[in-house]
Assembly symmetry: C2
Amino acid sequence: MMADTANHENASRDRIEQSILSAAEQVFSQHGYRGASLQAIADRAGLPKANILYYMGNKQALYVRLLNRMMSRWNAVLEDITPESDPGQVLSDFIRTKMVLGQRYPEGSKLFAAEILAGAPFLNDYLSGELKEWVTSRAAIIRQWSAQGKMDDVDPRWLIFLIWSSTQHYTEYSAQVSGILGTQALSEADFESICQFLEHVILKGCGISQPRQLGDAPLNQ
Amino acid sequence: MMADTANHENASRDRIEQSILSAAEQVFSQHGYRGASLQAIADRAGLPKANILYYMGNKQALYVRLLNRMMSRWNAVLEDITPESDPGQVLSDFIRTKMVLGQRYPEGSKLFAAEILAGAPFLNDYLSGELKEWVTSRAAIIRQWSAQGKMDDVDPRWLIFLIWSSTQHYTEYSAQVSGILGTQALSEADFESICQFLEHVILKGCGISQPRQLGDAPLNQ
DNA sequence: AACACACTTGACCGATCGGTCAGAATAATC
DNA sequence: GATTATTCTGACCGATCGGTCAAGTGTGTT
Protein backbone atom coordinates (compact mmCIF):
# COMPACT_ATOMS: atom_id res chain seq x y z
CA MET A 1 0.00 0.00 0.00
CA MET A 2 1.97 2.96 1.23
CA ALA A 3 4.99 0.81 1.93
CA ASP A 4 8.31 2.01 0.57
CA THR A 5 9.39 -0.95 -1.50
CA ALA A 6 12.97 0.25 -1.91
CA ASN A 7 13.56 0.20 1.82
CA HIS A 8 12.66 -3.35 2.72
CA GLU A 9 13.42 -2.65 6.38
CA ASN A 10 9.99 -1.16 6.69
CA ALA A 11 8.23 0.51 9.57
CA SER A 12 6.12 -2.52 10.45
CA ARG A 13 9.17 -4.59 11.29
CA ASP A 14 10.61 -1.78 13.38
CA ARG A 15 7.38 -1.38 15.30
CA ILE A 16 7.28 -5.08 16.19
CA GLU A 17 10.93 -5.19 17.13
CA GLN A 18 10.50 -2.22 19.42
CA SER A 19 7.55 -3.81 21.18
CA ILE A 20 9.57 -7.00 21.67
CA LEU A 21 12.54 -5.04 23.01
CA SER A 22 10.28 -3.16 25.38
CA ALA A 23 8.67 -6.33 26.71
CA ALA A 24 12.03 -8.07 27.00
CA GLU A 25 13.55 -5.14 28.88
CA GLN A 26 10.87 -5.40 31.54
CA VAL A 27 11.22 -9.14 32.01
CA PHE A 28 15.02 -9.24 31.93
CA SER A 29 15.32 -6.30 34.33
CA GLN A 30 13.04 -7.98 36.85
CA HIS A 31 14.39 -11.51 36.76
CA GLY A 32 17.84 -11.30 35.21
CA TYR A 33 19.10 -13.24 32.22
CA ARG A 34 18.57 -16.73 33.60
CA GLY A 35 15.31 -15.94 35.36
CA ALA A 36 13.66 -14.41 32.31
CA SER A 37 11.75 -16.73 30.00
CA LEU A 38 10.98 -16.19 26.33
CA GLN A 39 7.41 -17.23 27.03
CA ALA A 40 7.00 -14.41 29.55
CA ILE A 41 8.46 -11.93 27.06
CA ALA A 42 6.16 -13.21 24.33
CA ASP A 43 3.10 -12.96 26.57
CA ARG A 44 3.97 -9.39 27.50
CA ALA A 45 4.50 -8.46 23.86
CA GLY A 46 1.29 -10.22 22.82
CA LEU A 47 3.04 -12.47 20.34
CA PRO A 48 3.65 -16.22 20.01
CA LYS A 49 6.97 -17.34 21.39
CA ALA A 50 8.16 -18.52 17.98
CA ASN A 51 7.71 -15.01 16.66
CA ILE A 52 10.11 -13.61 19.23
CA LEU A 53 12.75 -16.02 18.01
CA TYR A 54 11.98 -15.22 14.39
CA TYR A 55 12.82 -11.56 14.98
CA MET A 56 15.60 -11.87 17.57
CA GLY A 57 17.32 -15.13 16.73
CA ASN A 58 17.82 -16.43 20.25
CA LYS A 59 17.65 -15.40 23.88
CA GLN A 60 21.25 -14.27 24.17
CA ALA A 61 21.14 -12.09 21.05
CA LEU A 62 18.02 -10.37 22.35
CA TYR A 63 19.68 -9.77 25.71
CA VAL A 64 22.90 -8.41 24.24
CA ARG A 65 20.94 -6.12 21.97
CA LEU A 66 19.16 -4.67 25.00
CA LEU A 67 22.45 -4.13 26.81
CA ASN A 68 23.93 -2.33 23.80
CA ARG A 69 20.87 -0.14 23.43
CA MET A 70 21.11 0.90 27.07
CA MET A 71 24.83 1.56 26.91
CA SER A 72 24.47 3.73 23.82
CA ARG A 73 22.23 6.06 25.82
CA TRP A 74 25.23 6.69 28.04
CA ASN A 75 27.62 7.86 25.37
CA ALA A 76 26.90 11.57 25.60
CA VAL A 77 27.25 11.84 29.39
CA LEU A 78 30.16 13.99 30.59
CA GLU A 79 31.48 13.96 27.04
CA ASP A 80 32.84 17.48 26.81
CA ILE A 81 34.47 18.37 30.09
CA THR A 82 37.88 20.06 30.21
CA PRO A 83 40.31 21.16 32.93
CA GLU A 84 38.91 24.66 32.40
CA SER A 85 35.28 23.63 33.04
CA ASP A 86 33.49 24.78 36.14
CA PRO A 87 33.34 21.78 38.51
CA GLY A 88 30.09 22.92 40.09
CA GLN A 89 28.35 23.21 36.76
CA VAL A 90 29.74 19.93 35.45
CA LEU A 91 28.94 17.85 38.54
CA SER A 92 25.54 19.48 38.82
CA ASP A 93 24.79 18.57 35.22
CA PHE A 94 26.13 15.06 35.79
CA ILE A 95 23.80 14.50 38.71
CA ARG A 96 20.75 15.77 36.86
CA THR A 97 21.57 13.94 33.64
CA LYS A 98 22.00 10.68 35.51
CA MET A 99 18.73 11.20 37.41
CA VAL A 100 16.85 11.97 34.20
CA LEU A 101 18.33 8.93 32.45
CA GLY A 102 17.19 6.71 35.28
CA GLN A 103 13.77 8.30 35.20
CA ARG A 104 13.46 7.97 31.42
CA TYR A 105 14.77 4.42 31.11
CA PRO A 106 14.02 2.70 34.42
CA GLU A 107 13.92 -0.79 32.95
CA GLY A 108 17.16 -0.26 31.09
CA SER A 109 18.86 0.92 34.27
CA LYS A 110 17.59 -2.09 36.17
CA LEU A 111 18.69 -4.37 33.35
CA PHE A 112 22.19 -2.98 33.70
CA ALA A 113 22.08 -3.47 37.47
CA ALA A 114 20.93 -7.09 37.15
CA GLU A 115 23.73 -7.81 34.71
CA ILE A 116 26.30 -6.39 37.14
CA LEU A 117 24.78 -8.36 40.02
CA ALA A 118 25.17 -11.58 38.02
CA GLY A 119 28.89 -10.82 37.72
CA ALA A 120 28.68 -8.98 34.39
CA PRO A 121 29.20 -12.08 32.22
CA PHE A 122 28.24 -10.16 29.08
CA LEU A 123 29.71 -6.79 30.08
CA ASN A 124 33.14 -7.67 31.43
CA ASP A 125 34.91 -6.44 28.32
CA TYR A 126 32.93 -3.21 28.31
CA LEU A 127 33.59 -2.53 32.00
CA SER A 128 37.31 -3.17 31.92
CA GLY A 129 37.71 -1.48 28.54
CA GLU A 130 35.48 1.34 27.37
CA LEU A 131 34.00 2.26 30.75
CA LYS A 132 37.33 2.02 32.56
CA GLU A 133 38.82 4.51 30.10
CA TRP A 134 35.79 6.74 30.50
CA VAL A 135 36.31 6.84 34.26
CA THR A 136 40.07 7.22 34.02
CA SER A 137 39.95 10.17 31.66
CA ARG A 138 37.28 11.98 33.69
CA ALA A 139 39.18 11.26 36.87
CA ALA A 140 42.29 12.90 35.40
CA ILE A 141 40.38 16.10 34.70
CA ILE A 142 38.83 16.15 38.17
CA ARG A 143 42.30 15.73 39.64
CA GLN A 144 43.37 18.85 37.77
CA TRP A 145 40.44 20.73 39.25
CA SER A 146 41.65 19.74 42.69
CA ALA A 147 45.21 20.79 41.85
CA GLN A 148 43.89 24.17 40.68
CA GLY A 149 42.17 24.62 44.04
CA LYS A 150 38.74 24.58 42.47
CA MET A 151 37.65 21.81 44.84
CA ASP A 152 38.83 19.56 47.67
CA ASP A 153 41.46 16.93 47.02
CA VAL A 154 39.17 13.92 46.91
CA ASP A 155 39.69 10.69 44.99
CA PRO A 156 37.80 11.34 41.73
CA ARG A 157 37.00 7.65 41.27
CA TRP A 158 35.10 7.55 44.54
CA LEU A 159 33.35 10.78 43.54
CA ILE A 160 32.20 9.28 40.26
CA PHE A 161 31.01 6.13 42.04
CA LEU A 162 29.19 8.29 44.57
CA ILE A 163 27.23 10.16 41.93
CA TRP A 164 26.55 6.97 39.99
CA SER A 165 25.29 5.05 43.01
CA SER A 166 23.24 7.78 44.67
CA THR A 167 21.33 8.55 41.49
CA GLN A 168 21.06 4.95 40.33
CA HIS A 169 19.46 4.12 43.66
CA TYR A 170 16.19 5.81 42.83
CA THR A 171 15.54 3.67 39.77
CA GLU A 172 17.14 0.43 40.84
CA TYR A 173 15.63 0.47 44.33
CA SER A 174 12.35 2.02 43.28
CA ALA A 175 10.49 -0.81 45.03
CA GLN A 176 12.25 -0.01 48.28
CA VAL A 177 11.99 3.77 47.90
CA SER A 178 8.29 3.72 47.12
CA GLY A 179 7.69 1.17 49.85
CA ILE A 180 9.30 3.46 52.39
CA LEU A 181 7.80 6.68 51.08
CA GLY A 182 4.41 4.99 50.79
CA THR A 183 3.86 6.25 47.26
CA GLN A 184 3.66 4.34 44.02
CA ALA A 185 6.25 6.45 42.19
CA LEU A 186 8.34 9.55 42.75
CA SER A 187 6.44 12.80 42.33
CA GLU A 188 7.85 15.68 40.32
CA ALA A 189 8.42 17.56 43.57
CA ASP A 190 10.28 14.63 45.12
CA PHE A 191 12.41 14.29 42.00
CA GLU A 192 13.37 17.95 42.13
CA SER A 193 13.95 17.79 45.87
CA ILE A 194 16.31 14.84 45.48
CA CYS A 195 18.28 16.56 42.72
CA GLN A 196 18.75 19.64 44.86
CA PHE A 197 19.72 17.57 47.88
CA LEU A 198 22.37 15.66 45.95
CA GLU A 199 23.73 18.83 44.37
CA HIS A 200 23.87 20.52 47.76
CA VAL A 201 25.59 17.70 49.63
CA ILE A 202 28.00 16.52 46.95
CA LEU A 203 29.13 19.96 45.76
CA LYS A 204 29.45 21.36 49.25
CA GLY A 205 31.08 18.15 50.40
CA CYS A 206 33.71 18.54 47.70
CA GLY A 207 34.32 22.16 48.64
CA ILE A 208 32.65 23.57 45.55
CA SER A 209 30.64 26.76 45.81
CA GLN A 210 27.35 26.03 44.10
CA PRO A 211 26.82 27.93 40.85
CA ARG A 212 23.22 28.68 41.72
CA GLN A 213 20.67 27.54 44.27
CA LEU A 214 17.81 26.15 42.25
CA GLY A 215 15.31 26.56 45.00
CA ASP A 216 16.09 30.24 45.42
CA ALA A 217 15.02 33.07 43.18
CA PRO A 218 17.23 33.35 40.10
CA LEU A 219 19.97 35.92 40.60
CA ASN A 220 19.46 38.01 37.49
CA GLN A 221 19.45 35.77 34.44
CA MET B 1 29.51 -41.41 69.41
CA MET B 2 30.11 -38.02 70.92
CA ALA B 3 26.63 -36.88 69.98
CA ASP B 4 24.54 -35.31 72.70
CA THR B 5 21.45 -37.44 72.64
CA ALA B 6 19.36 -35.02 74.68
CA ASN B 7 19.78 -32.27 72.12
CA HIS B 8 18.59 -34.00 68.99
CA GLU B 9 19.27 -30.81 66.97
CA ASN B 10 22.89 -31.84 66.82
CA ALA B 11 25.88 -30.10 65.35
CA SER B 12 25.96 -32.23 62.22
CA ARG B 13 22.59 -30.99 61.07
CA ASP B 14 23.58 -27.39 61.74
CA ARG B 15 26.78 -27.80 59.77
CA ILE B 16 24.93 -29.16 56.75
CA GLU B 17 22.25 -26.50 56.92
CA GLN B 18 24.86 -23.75 57.05
CA SER B 19 26.66 -25.13 54.01
CA ILE B 20 23.36 -25.27 52.12
CA LEU B 21 22.50 -21.70 53.14
CA SER B 22 25.92 -20.51 52.06
CA ALA B 23 25.66 -22.19 48.66
CA ALA B 24 22.11 -20.96 48.17
CA GLU B 25 23.07 -17.39 49.06
CA GLN B 26 25.65 -17.35 46.31
CA VAL B 27 23.35 -18.75 43.64
CA PHE B 28 20.31 -16.64 44.58
CA SER B 29 22.36 -13.44 44.79
CA GLN B 30 23.79 -13.99 41.33
CA HIS B 31 20.68 -15.06 39.46
CA GLY B 32 17.72 -13.97 41.57
CA TYR B 33 14.89 -16.16 42.81
CA ARG B 34 13.64 -17.34 39.43
CA GLY B 35 17.07 -17.68 37.86
CA ALA B 36 18.48 -19.82 40.65
CA SER B 37 18.05 -23.59 40.38
CA LEU B 38 18.07 -26.11 43.19
CA GLN B 39 20.42 -28.25 41.13
CA ALA B 40 22.99 -25.43 41.00
CA ILE B 41 22.68 -24.93 44.76
CA ALA B 42 23.05 -28.67 45.35
CA ASP B 43 26.13 -28.86 43.14
CA ARG B 44 27.76 -25.95 44.96
CA ALA B 45 26.98 -27.54 48.34
CA GLY B 46 28.20 -30.93 47.16
CA LEU B 47 24.91 -32.65 47.96
CA PRO B 48 22.20 -34.40 45.94
CA LYS B 49 19.30 -32.17 45.05
CA ALA B 50 16.85 -34.27 47.05
CA ASN B 51 18.92 -33.63 50.16
CA ILE B 52 18.49 -29.87 49.79
CA LEU B 53 14.74 -30.34 49.78
CA TYR B 54 14.91 -32.69 52.74
CA TYR B 55 16.54 -29.97 54.85
CA MET B 56 14.83 -26.89 53.48
CA GLY B 57 11.38 -28.06 52.42
CA ASN B 58 11.12 -26.18 49.16
CA LYS B 59 12.72 -23.42 47.13
CA GLN B 60 10.63 -20.60 48.53
CA ALA B 61 11.24 -21.58 52.18
CA LEU B 62 14.97 -21.66 51.55
CA TYR B 63 14.84 -18.24 49.91
CA VAL B 64 12.76 -16.64 52.65
CA ARG B 65 15.06 -18.09 55.27
CA LEU B 66 18.01 -16.42 53.57
CA LEU B 67 16.20 -13.08 53.40
CA ASN B 68 15.35 -13.25 57.10
CA ARG B 69 18.91 -14.13 58.01
CA MET B 70 20.20 -11.12 56.10
CA MET B 71 17.63 -8.74 57.55
CA SER B 72 18.41 -9.83 61.11
CA ARG B 73 21.97 -8.62 60.58
CA TRP B 74 20.54 -5.16 60.10
CA ASN B 75 18.67 -4.90 63.37
CA ALA B 76 21.43 -3.27 65.41
CA VAL B 77 22.23 -0.51 62.91
CA LEU B 78 21.48 3.04 64.12
CA GLU B 79 19.56 1.51 67.00
CA ASP B 80 20.46 3.93 69.77
CA ILE B 81 20.50 7.44 68.35
CA THR B 82 18.84 10.33 70.15
CA PRO B 83 18.25 14.02 69.48
CA GLU B 84 21.24 14.66 71.77
CA SER B 85 23.61 12.46 69.78
CA ASP B 86 26.44 14.00 67.81
CA PRO B 87 25.43 13.91 64.13
CA GLY B 88 29.01 13.63 62.93
CA GLN B 89 29.71 10.63 65.10
CA VAL B 90 26.42 8.93 64.28
CA LEU B 91 26.62 9.39 60.52
CA SER B 92 30.28 8.44 60.53
CA ASP B 93 29.46 5.24 62.38
CA PHE B 94 26.54 4.58 60.06
CA ILE B 95 28.76 4.83 56.99
CA ARG B 96 31.42 2.55 58.41
CA THR B 97 28.93 0.02 59.77
CA LYS B 98 27.20 -0.19 56.44
CA MET B 99 30.50 -0.59 54.59
CA VAL B 100 31.62 -3.34 56.97
CA LEU B 101 28.29 -5.15 56.64
CA GLY B 102 28.61 -5.14 52.88
CA GLN B 103 32.17 -6.34 53.15
CA ARG B 104 31.29 -9.10 55.60
CA TYR B 105 28.16 -10.36 53.87
CA PRO B 106 28.57 -9.56 50.18
CA GLU B 107 26.28 -12.34 49.00
CA GLY B 108 23.59 -11.39 51.49
CA SER B 109 23.74 -7.79 50.35
CA LYS B 110 23.46 -8.83 46.71
CA LEU B 111 20.60 -11.15 47.58
CA PHE B 112 18.73 -8.21 49.05
CA ALA B 113 19.47 -6.11 45.98
CA ALA B 114 18.22 -8.80 43.63
CA GLU B 115 15.01 -9.12 45.63
CA ILE B 116 14.41 -5.37 45.38
CA LEU B 117 15.17 -5.40 41.66
CA ALA B 118 12.55 -8.08 41.15
CA GLY B 119 9.99 -5.76 42.75
CA ALA B 120 10.40 -7.08 46.31
CA PRO B 121 7.67 -9.77 46.01
CA PHE B 122 8.76 -11.34 49.31
CA LEU B 123 9.79 -8.14 51.09
CA ASN B 124 6.95 -5.76 50.37
CA ASP B 125 5.49 -6.09 53.84
CA TYR B 126 8.89 -5.60 55.45
CA LEU B 127 9.66 -2.51 53.35
CA SER B 128 6.38 -0.74 53.90
CA GLY B 129 6.21 -1.81 57.54
CA GLU B 130 9.27 -2.40 59.67
CA LEU B 131 11.78 -0.64 57.43
CA LYS B 132 9.50 2.32 56.78
CA GLU B 133 9.15 2.89 60.50
CA TRP B 134 12.90 2.53 60.93
CA VAL B 135 13.47 5.29 58.36
CA THR B 136 10.68 7.49 59.70
CA SER B 137 11.90 7.41 63.29
CA ARG B 138 15.52 8.11 62.32
CA ALA B 139 14.40 10.87 60.00
CA ALA B 140 12.56 12.53 62.87
CA ILE B 141 15.72 12.63 64.96
CA ILE B 142 17.81 13.97 62.10
CA ARG B 143 15.23 16.71 61.61
CA GLN B 144 15.72 17.69 65.22
CA TRP B 145 19.45 17.92 64.65
CA SER B 146 18.76 20.33 61.81
CA ALA B 147 16.39 22.37 63.97
CA GLN B 148 19.08 22.58 66.63
CA GLY B 149 21.50 23.97 64.07
CA LYS B 150 23.78 20.96 64.33
CA MET B 151 23.61 20.44 60.57
CA ASP B 152 22.11 21.81 57.37
CA ASP B 153 18.39 21.57 56.80
CA VAL B 154 18.41 18.63 54.39
CA ASP B 155 15.68 16.06 53.85
CA PRO B 156 16.73 13.21 56.16
CA ARG B 157 15.12 10.60 53.96
CA TRP B 158 17.37 11.52 51.04
CA LEU B 159 20.32 11.53 53.41
CA ILE B 160 19.57 7.99 54.57
CA PHE B 161 19.12 6.86 50.98
CA LEU B 162 22.40 8.54 50.06
CA ILE B 163 24.37 6.66 52.70
CA TRP B 164 22.60 3.41 51.91
CA SER B 165 23.22 3.65 48.17
CA SER B 166 26.78 4.93 48.21
CA THR B 167 27.95 2.18 50.56
CA GLN B 168 25.81 -0.55 49.04
CA HIS B 169 27.39 0.25 45.69
CA TYR B 170 30.73 -1.31 46.57
CA THR B 171 29.25 -4.73 47.28
CA GLU B 172 26.41 -4.77 44.81
CA TYR B 173 28.45 -3.39 41.92
CA SER B 174 31.66 -5.17 42.90
CA ALA B 175 31.91 -6.54 39.36
CA GLN B 176 31.76 -3.02 37.93
CA VAL B 177 34.06 -1.49 40.55
CA SER B 178 36.73 -4.14 40.20
CA GLY B 179 36.39 -4.05 36.41
CA ILE B 180 37.05 -0.31 36.42
CA LEU B 181 39.77 -0.38 39.05
CA GLY B 182 41.39 -3.36 37.37
CA THR B 183 41.67 -5.31 40.59
CA GLN B 184 39.96 -8.48 41.72
CA ALA B 185 38.68 -7.09 45.01
CA LEU B 186 38.98 -3.95 47.10
CA SER B 187 42.22 -3.67 49.03
CA GLU B 188 42.29 -2.69 52.69
CA ALA B 189 43.72 0.67 51.67
CA ASP B 190 40.94 1.25 49.11
CA PHE B 191 38.32 0.31 51.69
CA GLU B 192 39.71 2.81 54.17
CA SER B 193 40.09 5.46 51.48
CA ILE B 194 36.45 5.06 50.45
CA CYS B 195 35.23 5.32 54.04
CA GLN B 196 37.16 8.52 54.57
CA PHE B 197 35.94 9.96 51.29
CA LEU B 198 32.31 9.26 52.12
CA GLU B 199 32.66 10.65 55.62
CA HIS B 200 34.35 13.77 54.29
CA VAL B 201 31.85 14.51 51.53
CA ILE B 202 28.63 13.57 53.32
CA LEU B 203 29.43 15.20 56.66
CA LYS B 204 30.85 18.34 55.09
CA GLY B 205 28.00 18.37 52.59
CA CYS B 206 25.52 18.36 55.44
CA GLY B 207 27.34 21.16 57.23
CA ILE B 208 28.70 18.95 59.99
CA SER B 209 32.16 19.57 61.38
CA GLN B 210 33.88 16.20 61.36
CA PRO B 211 34.58 14.75 64.80
CA ARG B 212 38.04 13.64 63.74
CA GLN B 213 39.98 13.26 60.53
CA LEU B 214 40.98 9.64 60.45
CA GLY B 215 43.85 10.19 58.07
CA ASP B 216 45.40 12.88 60.26
CA ALA B 217 47.28 12.36 63.47
CA PRO B 218 44.94 11.83 66.43
CA LEU B 219 44.31 15.04 68.32
CA ASN B 220 45.10 13.88 71.82
CA GLN B 221 43.05 10.82 72.67
C1' DA C 1 18.56 -59.25 67.72
C1' DA C 2 14.85 -56.22 66.99
C1' DC C 3 13.05 -52.03 66.57
C1' DA C 4 12.56 -47.01 65.80
C1' DC C 5 13.90 -43.09 63.64
C1' DA C 6 16.61 -39.59 61.30
C1' DC C 7 19.13 -39.28 57.18
C1' DT C 8 20.37 -40.16 52.15
C1' DT C 9 19.50 -40.55 47.33
C1' DG C 10 18.36 -42.47 42.60
C1' DA C 11 14.40 -42.63 40.00
C1' DC C 12 10.64 -40.50 38.57
C1' DC C 13 6.64 -36.91 37.78
C1' DG C 14 4.31 -33.12 35.15
C1' DA C 15 5.56 -28.53 33.75
C1' DT C 16 8.39 -25.42 31.57
C1' DC C 17 12.78 -24.21 29.49
C1' DG C 18 15.25 -22.47 24.80
C1' DG C 19 15.07 -23.62 20.26
C1' DT C 20 13.65 -25.98 15.55
C1' DC C 21 10.78 -26.71 11.72
C1' DA C 22 7.27 -27.38 8.37
C1' DG C 23 3.68 -25.34 6.56
C1' DA C 24 -0.05 -21.79 6.61
C1' DA C 25 -0.95 -17.02 5.81
C1' DT C 26 0.18 -12.72 3.97
C1' DA C 27 2.58 -9.36 1.06
C1' DA C 28 5.41 -8.02 -2.85
C1' DT C 29 6.69 -8.69 -7.63
C1' DC C 30 5.96 -9.90 -12.18
C1' DG D 1 -3.60 -14.28 -11.70
C1' DA D 2 0.68 -16.60 -11.01
C1' DT D 3 4.93 -16.60 -8.65
C1' DT D 4 8.11 -15.48 -5.31
C1' DA D 5 9.49 -13.77 -0.83
C1' DT D 6 8.47 -12.71 3.76
C1' DT D 7 6.01 -13.20 7.96
C1' DC D 8 3.70 -15.96 11.16
C1' DT D 9 2.74 -19.89 14.36
C1' DG D 10 1.25 -24.59 16.17
C1' DA D 11 3.51 -28.64 17.04
C1' DC D 12 7.29 -30.65 18.59
C1' DC D 13 12.24 -31.69 20.55
C1' DG D 14 15.60 -32.84 24.31
C1' DA D 15 16.98 -30.68 28.56
C1' DT D 16 16.01 -28.88 32.83
C1' DC D 17 12.81 -27.08 36.23
C1' DG D 18 10.75 -27.80 41.35
C1' DG D 19 9.13 -31.41 43.83
C1' DT D 20 7.73 -36.43 45.38
C1' DC D 21 8.58 -40.97 46.83
C1' DA D 22 10.11 -45.32 48.09
C1' DA D 23 13.86 -47.92 49.08
C1' DG D 24 17.99 -47.68 51.17
C1' DT D 25 21.81 -46.61 55.02
C1' DG D 26 23.20 -45.69 59.48
C1' DT D 27 22.74 -45.14 64.49
C1' DG D 28 21.13 -45.32 69.05
C1' DT D 29 17.57 -47.76 72.25
C1' DT D 30 15.60 -51.56 74.20
